[in-house]
Symmetry: C2
């Protein structure tokens, strides 16, 4: 079956990275890497030997059966179960060192006392950077749903609304168009609900998180995004909702205005569109990420908006990022990012400017890197839409 060979193909990509680094087995347990390697989330582990088929060690659910499946209560059982299958103990094992907690890593690393244990997270992230055809099609379909949901955003607006009330209606249409809700982020520290609605000066508020823009948030426990203030005439609203329609995170931002904005806002918005168009028309396999960032920074500086590019009081240091099962995959489009674009990468480009007294402007789309250049999965009008 197609999914079976897809998953085998992905595990072989990982085996290739393992071979390049003299690793002879991987023990994987984090949800996104489980999804990637076995197409489902389990409470348990997938063990990938470099030279033999992968085996699932499952604590929960108790209903999955198969030749390559073992049910366990604790990870220590993996050792003897592998032995009984005649699979040799690993000599150099990779674990998800940037993802699993210290005590859990220690416990897993102790399973084979003689094994050298290395951090596999960077290898997994590198492999996941290049998407398969199946993954690319999931992005294309997610992009269509994302665009369809956004086309309904003007219907969500009523005069005198707060940013929160506006967001609640947008969240609803996102769900109705198939958004699964969960917003997956690499790393333990960043959190957000379904995405970000930033209106007026709230877009100038710094946040502790490393998203493109900040926002004060509703509560100290969620210091990002909307603040509960009323939408006021003469200000802009940026909608930047995560597009998790099938497990893969599509990303897209569009800007709306309450009435008309000062001319400066339309000028700044056009600068962002120009950057987006310039980058997406020139980028191709081989393009260095830092060159894209430098080009954007030059364009925005030439236009006189450098001091409010990607924020004001606190400015994000990137203008784009890889997408996948998580919103912040590789590559990062940033000053010192020397990664080169390669076919079948997926990335978001999001040049944005925040104008104090007005709000945020700019655009964000999701792009697939093809041999010919960038393909947009979130194609739809990019102008500021008057509500």
């Amino acid at each position: 079956m197609a999914l079976h060979s897809e998953l085998k193909f992905r595990r072989d990509l990982i085996r290739k990275a393992m071979a390049d680094n003299n690793i002879d087995a991987a023990l994987i347990t984090c949800n996104t890497n489980l999804l990637y390697t076995c197409g489902q989330i389990i409470s348990g582990y997938i063990y990938i030997p470099i030279n033999s088929p992968a085996i699932l060690f499952i604590k929960r659910p108790n209903t999955i059966r198969g030749e390559q499946v073992e049910h366990i209560r604790k990870p220590e059982q993996i050792v003897e179960l592998l032995e009984s299958r005649g699979i040799p103990a690993p000599t150099r094992l990779m674990l998800e060192g940037d993802e699993i907690p210290f005590t859990e890593y220690q416990r897993l690393a102790a399973l084979w006392a003689d094994a050298d244990v290395v951090n596999g997270t960077p290898y997994m992230r590198q492999v996941r950077t290049i998407k398969t055809d199946l993954e690319l099609n999931l992005f294309r379909r997610a992009g269509q749903s994302h665009v369809k949901a956004y086309s309904r955003i003007p219907d969500c607006y009523k005069e005198e609304m707060t940013d929160l009330e506006f967001s609640i209606e947008i969240e609803r249409i996102m769900r109705q168009e198939g958004n699964l809700g969960i917003f997956r982020i690499f790393g333990r520290s960043m959190e957000i609900f379904m995405g970000s609605i930033l209106a007026g000066d709230n877009a100038t508020e710094p946040s502790p998180y490393d998203f493109a823009l900040g926002g004060a948030g509703l509560n100290a426990s969620i210091p990002v995004g909307l603040s509960g203030k009323r939408l006021t005439p003469g200000t802009s609203v940026m909608v930047d909702m995560g597009g998790n329609f099938n497990g893969y995170m599509s990303d897209m931002s569009r800007v709306y205005s309450i009435g008309d904005l000062p001319q400066k806002a339309y000028d700044a918005h056009q600068v962002c569109l120009d950057i987006s168009h310039e980058l997406s028309e020139t980028a191709k396999p081989g393009t260095v990420c830092s060159e894209m960032y430098d080009k954007a920074l030059k364009m925005v500086s030439d236009a006189g908006f450098a001091d409010c590019f990607m924020g004001t009081r606190q400015q994000a240091k990137f203008i784009g990022h890889g997408l996948g099962l998580e919103i912040n995959e590789l590559p990062v489009i940033a000053k010192n990012s020397n990664m080169e674009l390669a076919p079948n990468m997926v990335l978001a480009l999001e040049p944005k400017i925040v104008l104090p007294g007005v709000g945020p402007v700019g655009v964000e789309n999701t792009w697939i890197v093809t041999e010919e250049g960038l393909e947009c999965t979130t194609r739809s009008p990019e102008g500021i839409i008057k509500l």
Copy 2:
């Protein structure tokens, strides 16, 4: 100011636990523990020496200033900044070993080469188990909002709806009543959107997660909760949405029916109500958690529903859990849980039965342990409500 002394009080509770374990400093960086100790989330660290005031080391945002605040780019700067303040290096340091990833823990543990480093997560979780008056009032207010939102659930229903369509409308009213959306869970492995809507036989589906009940989910990437099927006459629907109205997780489940249910469902529901009433009327400080579990299991066995208590094909091994900034705090109400209830604990009790062909029944409320017994923060009618 009140918040200032509240936070000082909490840090002193942590210092007490540190003293009991010969720990002379804590370096804390996870969001929930930052919220608990400094009332806000930062990208950075709070350093709590046992004998001098805590210091914030902040990477982001760049806008927080104060005598006890230092801005840093990387954690290695903490060492010399403490030195320059005349604060001695720790001899026994605690880090959040069950929470922060292996590589990050290693980096922080290496800051002071001579220090003994221990896992502080169990101590932090123990301290957070006993809530302060301010926290209890946040639970009481959250409970009121939770009840108010649930009172609107019947308005969300339309004939021929799917569980997903029903959920989307419930999510919306939860948000309108102030739910912040984010559902915080201790541990890296469990994920859920805003909560769970389980209808009919979907409640019998095992999930990889250790929630009270399962559900197939909409997609392999979120294998829990609603499945997208139509709500059909003669089946029940359990609404179990997280109540994050202010950072603290209130928890509450109620059952609805599409038309009438077989008599067995009302009987099973009554058994759950009886268990809930018996436990909540007899539990008090000193009650051992396993005794509560055993009593529940005896009642449900006597009533003949043991084989479908807390699930069918896969049964949860607990009937309640502590609540706080995360949904799964201590104590756990389970077979071998020898923790004793103590004043100012907060917990959810959720005896539930799943009837194949009908669906889930039962109840869940949030309770504060007081000197006199349990106080309900989610008081509202508990019968099955016909939609």
